[in-house]
Amino acid sequence: MRRRLQKRTSIALLLDYLGGDYQLGLLQAVEESAAEHDLNLLVAVGRALEAPNPVDAAQNEIYARVGSDSVDGVIAGSGCIGIHVNTDALTQFLGRFGSLAKCSISAELHGIPSLGVSNRRGMRAMVDHVIVTHGCRRIAYIRGPMGGDEAQARFEGYVDALASHGIALDPHLVEAGDFWIQSGAEATRRLLDRGEKFDALVVANDYMALGAIEVLHDRGVRIPQEVVVTGFDDVPSARIAYPSLSTVRQPLSRLGRLAVETILRQLDGQAVPDRVELDVDLVARQSCGCAYRARETASASPPPGPLRAARDEVDANAVALCDAMTHCVPIAPAALDGWADRMLEGLRRELAGSRGEFLIELEHVLDAAQPRADVIYQFNAVIGALRSHFRDIPLDPRHARTLDDLWHSAVLVVGAASNRSQMRTAFDSEHAQDVLRGSVERLATALTHPALTDSLREVLPAVSIRSAAISLYEDAARQQLRAFFAWADGKDQGFATNVFPSSRVAPDEFLQTERRWSYFLMPLTFGSEHLGLALFDMATHVSVPRMLREQIGAALKGAALHQAVVQQTALRQRAERDQLHKEMQIAQRIQTAILPIDISADGLELAALMLPAAEVGGDYYDVLPTERGCLIGIGDVTGHGLLAGLVMLMIQGIVAGMVAVDAEAAPSKLIAALNRALFENVRHRLNREEHATLLLVRYDRDGSLVFAGHHEEIILCRARTARCERIRTEGFWLAAAPDIGGLTTDSRARLESGDLIVLYTDGVVEAMSAHGEVFGVERLCAVIESHRMRPVKEICAAVAHAAREWSPPQADDISVLVGRYTPPLTPDSLRA
C-alpha cells in the first residue's frame, strides 16, 4: 500500500555524483520540469552501482532509503549509476522500488519505461564524419566500461561505421576506460606508448576525450592536424576545452523533461511506451577541424549592406522561423518570455540596414538567460537554425556572405556569453567553497553534538542553505532514524518526531509543508561506516552540499570518537578508583591489623587509637614492652595509599626486630639504624621518595623518658600545674637522607605522678576547618587539659573527636596515644 506523507506528488531522481556535467544537466532538466508540474523532488545522490571502492559502495545505500514512504515515482539516471553493471542488474535494482512509478534514463530495461538516445547511431554518425569529412582511416577508439550497455552500444556504432567504409577493426587501436577523465588519459598513454599510429581518436564519452586531449598535448601531438579527437555527450566542459571538443550531443533537457512526464503519466494510469529514443546531434568543433574551416569562410566575407530579399523572407515566414528557433531552446526560463519574437525583430531591423541591431537584441536575450550556461549554449542551435533557413533562400552572393558574417558574429556573441556564464559559475563555486573551507575548522572542532548543531546554525546561512535536515541512524540495522538537526527557512526547527522509520528520510514535519520542495538526499558516512542521512535544499551551488556532507560526516565521527574517548576515560578512571579503593582497603587492613593489642606498661596507663582516613595516610604507633618499661613509637609516612602503608609496615617490622635484639638500645641508635635500612628500601629498591616522621620514646618505670627522632611535639600534661608542656623533637625525617646518625640525638624528660604523656600525628593538629584554619597544638592542649582527670581512653577519644569535629570530612589519619604515669610504690609514698 502506498503511503503518502504529502498531498503534493513527490518524485525521486537517482544520481551517482553531484558535479558531473551529465548529472547536472539531467538534474537541472528534471528540477525545472518538476517545478513546472508542481512536484516535490528528492535527488538521492549515491555512487555508481557495484562501485569497486567500498567507501563508494557504502554511499549507495542511499538508494535503499528511497521508497513509497517518501516519493511516488523514481527516475534513475541509469547512464551514470549503472556504468559498472549490465541491464539485468539495473532491472533488478529498479525492481526494488516495487509499485512506484519508474523511469530509466539511458539504459533500456525490461518492463521499465526507459528513455534514451541512439548511442549506436550517434557513434556511427561521428565515425562516419571523421572518415568522410576528415579522411581519417586509422581510427583508434577508447571504449566505456565493460559490461555497461551504453558503452557497448557506442562501441558497436564505431564497429558499424568502420565496416561500412571497408576499414578492418584493429583490436590494437581499441583501449578500455571507465568514462572518467583519468581513464581516458591512461588509455591514450597506452596507445602512444605502444607506438600505435592513428589519425583519429574517437572516444566513448567527453570526459575521457578531455583526458585524451591532455595527454596528446603533453606528448606534442597537434589536434586536429595530426590526430582528430571526438567525444560523446556534449557536456559543458567540451565547449570550453582547447581545442573545443567535437562530440555527439545528448539532449539532456529533453530527456529530463520527458522522464518527469513519463512518471506523471504512470501515476495517472496512462500507458507509456517501453522505450523512447531521442535523436542525437553531431556537434562539430575544433577538435575534428570543422570550426577552423567555418572561420576561414567567414573571414573572407565582404562588407555588409541592405538585404531586402532576406528581410522579406523574415516578414513572410516569421511564424515558421519563430517555431524553429524556440524548438532549439525547449525549456526557456521565464525571464526569456518572447525572446524569439524580439530576436526576429532585431534581425528585421538589421536586414533593413540598421547594422548591429540583431546582435544587440541577441546580447539582451543572452543577458536575460544568465547564468544558465546550458540555455545560453542552446542559442548556438538557434543561430544554426537561422543559418540553415537562409541557406536555402536564393540571395545575391554578396548578401549571402554578409549573412554568413552575421551568423558567425552571432556565434561569437553566444560564445562570449557562454564564457561569462562559465566564469560566473566557477566564481560562485569558488566562493561557496571558500566559505565552506572557512567553516571546516568550526565543524571539525565541534566535538560534541550540541557544538556541532551550533556550528551548523552558523555555517548553513553562510553557504546560502535555507533548509536542511540531518538525522542519525538509531539502530545497527539502520531501520530507524533519530532527528538530529532540522533547519527550515533559515530557522532552527524543533520537531515532535524524534525517532522515525528510515524510509521516511526526514521527520514528517520537515517534508509535510505547503510549499513545494526540492532536496538533495545524501548519505552521511565516514569511510564505509553509515552514520545517517542529510537533506539539503538546492538553493546553493552543488559543490556546497557535496562538501558539507563530507564535513558533517567527519564531524559526527569526530564527535562520536570524542564521546567514546570520554566514556573510556571515565571507565578507566572508575577502574582506577576501584583499584585504588581496593588498595586502600588493603592498606587499612595492614595499618590497623599491625597495631598493638596490649599496650600496657608498668606504671604507665596507656590508651591509643587510630582513625584511618578514607585514603590511608601511613600513620604508625607501637608500644613494645621492655624489661624496664616500654618503647613507644609514633610516626607518619608522607603521602597516602598502599605505598605509605607499606613503608609504615617496614618501620614497624624493623623497629620491632631491633628491639627484640637489643631491648635497651638508645632511641637515637635505633632511629639511625632504621633510617639506613629504610633509605635503601625506599630510595633504591622501590625507587620512591617517601619519607617519614618517627619519634621513639623509651619509658622507664622510674618515669624517665628518653626520646629521639623527628615528629610532632611531645605534650606532657603536668598533674602538678594542670597545664600542658610542649617538647619539640629535633631529629630528622626517615628515608630522606642516607645517614642521619649525626642529626639524631637522644633527649630526655621525666614524668611525675599523675602526669600525662600525649603523642599524636599531624592528622590531629593539621586538621583543617572549612575556613582554612588548622586545629593546632594550642587547641589540642586545651582539650587535654580539660579532660586531664578522665581515664586515658576517654582522653584519646576526646582528642580524636575534637579533631574530627574541627575538620569534617577527615582528610588524614588521626592517631593519638595517651599515657598516665603512676610512680612505683615506695615506703615514702606509702607513708604519704
Binding site: 621518595e689 630522606a736 582528610a811
Partner: protein, 127 residues
C-alpha cells in the same frame, strides 16, 4: 638590578611566584599547601631547578613568610628538592625566609636545614 617575572602558579588557596633579581632567584609562596597541591609543587620545584641553572643563579631565596600551612606531602616535595640540589655538582645555596610566628615552619624548616646544612640557611623574620 633587573627583575624578571618568570612564572606564576595559582591554586585556590596556594600560589607560587618566581622572580629573578640580579643573580638570585626568588620563589615566593603564599596561602596554604594542602595535599592536593603537592603534585603541582613538585613540578614547580623542578622548574625552579631549570630556571636557576639557566640563569646561573648562585642563590635561591624561598620566601615562606606568607605560607601559613604546609601538609607533609608538600614538605616531602621540599625534602626531595633539597636532596636533589645537594647532589648537584655546583649546588645553588638556598635561603628560606620563614615566618617566626608560625611554629610549624621552625620545626619543618629546621629539619630541612639539617638535611643539607652546607647549602641551606634559614632566616626567621619577625613580622
Amino acid at each position: 638590578m633587573s627583575m624578571h617575572h618568570l612564572n606564576v602558579i595559582k591554586k585556590e588557596t596556594f600560589s607560587l611566584e618566581t622572580l629573578s633579581i640580579g643573580g638570585r632567584l626568588m620563589v615566593r609562596f603564599t596561602g596554604s599547601g594542602h595535599a592536593d597541591a603537592a603534585p603541582l609543587l613538585e613540578r614547580c620545584l623542578k622548574g625552579v631547578d631549570e630556571e636557576a641553572a639557566r640563569l646561573a643563579c648562585s642563590e635561591i631565596v624561598v620566601d615562606f613568610q606568607q605560607l601559613y600551612f604546609m601538609n607533609s606531602s608538600c614538605l616531602k616535595a621540599f625534602v626531595s628538592w633539597i636532596y636533589r640540589l645537594h647532589a648537584a655538582a655546583k649546588p645553588a645555596r638556598v635561603r628560606f625566609m620563614s615566618n617566626a610566628r608560625l611554629r610549624w615552619q621552625e620545626s619543618s624548616l629546621g629539619a630541612l636545614g639539617r638535611l643539607a646544612p652546607e647549602i641551606v640557611t634559614i632566616e626567621a623574620i619577625e613580622s
